[in-house]
Amino acid sequence: MGALLIAPPEPRLDPHGVAIIGAGPFARAIAQIVVASGARPRVFVRRLGERPELSKGLGQAELSDDLPRVLDGARLVVFAVPAGELEDIATRAGPHLMPDQVALVVSRGLTEGFLLPHEHLRRQTCLRQIGVLGGPLNIAELEAGRRLNVVIATRYRAVLEIARHFTSATRVSFEPTRDLIGVSIAGAIANVASIAAGLAEALELGATARGVLQARGVFEATRLGTAHGAEASTFGGLAGLGELIPRDVRSMERHEELGRALATMPLSAAMEKVGGHVEGVLTAQVASERARQRGLELPLVQGLQAVMSGEDEARKRLDSILVKPLAEGRG
């Protein structure tokens, strides 16, 4: 039809503009990828003045603690804060976000009310074109110049196009899927399984026990995920089984460390010892609560929650989980 154009909405977005919220290892890795593509990302860092060391290694990236300025005009907004901070940051970002911006969520973990990371964006902002990053985010590979395989879950092609644009010159390959729920739940429960694996290690239960617990993690993620509309096949893929690939990632290491500490001390002391964000703790609590409401059996998740809340003794509970056949119970 004859297009009589009306004035396009202002301001126009910069197609190469990238805003990265967060300054953790993932946020930094993404900033490096964007810099390598020739663009100049803006990185939002809280209390930047107290942490000048963060700008090291980020080349052309611009660090700022001014959120509206970081978001302004960016076509892509990457949310790479701990899951527990996502609601707050989404609420603060909300007034400065635009419907044509594209978001990528790197945060992992369930929060109060069984909310998945991307759901905070849907609840607090006008953003629709959202992608969730999953799979073995083994950023050490990237640093060593090796291939990095990740999963991007999204319903919108624009997210994939942008990801392709920024990674075309790198060794990052990504696998697209539409299963946002599956990828989010797989990533969240993998953290819980890591805590269990650390605990098993400290209790000297052996390598088999560790493997069984991790396999059970994937199994329970599948059960929890499919009960919430995820596709079972997601959990057998890179976002599920792929999580078992050994890797050198600080957040995962923290989860295992917390597990090891739990062998000898209560949760609060263990968390203090480990420091930083251990999303798996809240995830286990939220997932256990949901399992109870929906009548789902998640022995690993619920067992670990019982151990962490001090209701149950660790060795006894892990033993009972390890002897349980995987396929038992209703899904």
């Binding site: 039809m1 004859g2 297009a3 009589l4 154009l5 009306i6 396009p8 909405p9 126009r12 609420t91 909300g94 007034p95 635009m98 419907p99 044509d100 849907r122 609840r123 607090q124 902002t125 006008c126 629709r128 074109q129 319903r155 919108y156 092609r157 624009a158 409401q293 929906r294 009548g295």
Partner: protein
Amino acid sequence: MRSEDQERIVTELVSRVCGERTRGAEAGQGGLRETLEESAFHERKRLAADRGKSPAYAEDAAFWDGLQGRLKHGAEHDLRRALRDVVGHYAREVQGNFDPRVYAVATRVLPPALGMLLNAVSPLKLAQRLPSLPSLDDRIEVQGEVEQLRRLHERGTVVLVPTHVSNLDSPIVGFALYKIGLPPFVYGAGLNLFTNPLISFFMRNLGAYTVDRKKQDPLYKDVLKTYATLSIEQGYDNLFFPGGTRSRSGAVEAKLKRGLLGTGLAAYINNLRRGAPRPKVFVVPCTLSSQLVLEAETLVDDFLQEVGKSRYIIDDDEFSQPRRIFDFASQLSSLDAKTHVTISRGMDVFGNQVDDEGVSLDPRGRAIDERRYVFADGEARHVADRDAEYTTDLADAISRAFSRDNLVESTHVSARAIFGLLRKRNPKMSTLRIIRTGGIDDDLALRDVLAELERLLDELRPMHDQGRIRLGPSARGPAEDVLSDGLMHFSIYHTRAAARRRGDRVVPSDRTLLLYYQNRLEGYHLDGGDVLSDDRKNLRGGER
């Protein structure tokens, strides 16, 4: 619809649909000959099954016979002409023989006309019974965001999307719109509703266009969607039932048909592209609720016979029996029963809520420029896959509104309590078996039913206060009153009461109907679980 707009819509429709197909053919997405052969195939199949039953049979058969010859030897330009003829043929049928003069009269005499619709009896009978006819004004209660709907109608084009349980829904919505002072909305009505000449006369003239669900030709579906899109672009408020067909289970629709819903977005983008003065399209969900449903027995039978894939077309139900409609209306009137039409908050075509001025809001209530969802490289664009996802988001937002504004009455909560008790008493039986056998007991103790109902109401009352569901007036009192109201309604209309009281016992006499009415509370994860989602597999039989 104004007659000049009608002309314009048909002309533009033919040009758009033919243009898209021709461009598609040039881009290698299937040639015109294939398109036309597919149309001919579907139409011949339909006509073979019809065997002269439909009034347009002879005309249709002659049309497709004539086309067959042109297809065989036609050159490219002949095929283009044939395509225009087919699309024009469909378009004129969809549009029907609308008469603007009758439209003007009908708009003025709407309430009595709808009275006739609701009663659907011959004018003579109607005249004889006139004094005892229920007054629609008292029977239909319009509530919710009425004021916002009026304002949105002023600020853009409204697409009203109601829940759908009965063929009486469209006249009821028509009356509700009249009652709140809005002109009739354009809507697609199934061909079966046009078989009664009296109903047909008024349907046509109250903005209805024809949808023949027996036509499976994809080209016909394109024509329907384009017709709706164009009427929205011309500023005509539309009415869609997004569930597509009447809910067979009795549950409020959770899965919505996105084909028609997407026409709102398509029209909005076209409006932006041509710089229309009032480009906005508002989608307003609406729930209809009454204590009894005219066609409950047929619908739920259909649901149980083919769980998950019900017949799309039912033409032999209670609605085709004028006597049943009359009994239904007059018995309901004797009980002072009301149908509640609840208007939800309006939203934009992306599923964002809008304020009273029609400004789109983000989830925190902040104004946003919703045009940005469709602008790319400086212009408003159609992007098929993106737009389909926006429409999915819209459908989800509508489902949530349905769930929040679903009004449950005494019949629904009573049925849920009785059916829930049957499930508790027979934990090893599948739902289907409970329906067939009634479980191990012949009846239930009244006090147990009341206790179960009280527990259910205790669960629902806070949900009502939090805006997660609506308790209708008949479901707000103490359990004794609610149950007695529910049982009284069950006893008055259906061939067999869903449940009845015998002394201090309650007899679940028609479990199929109990399932139907309790299903209105499905999807809320109430204590005791959802029967449909927990048990959909088991409805086919077998033990849990």
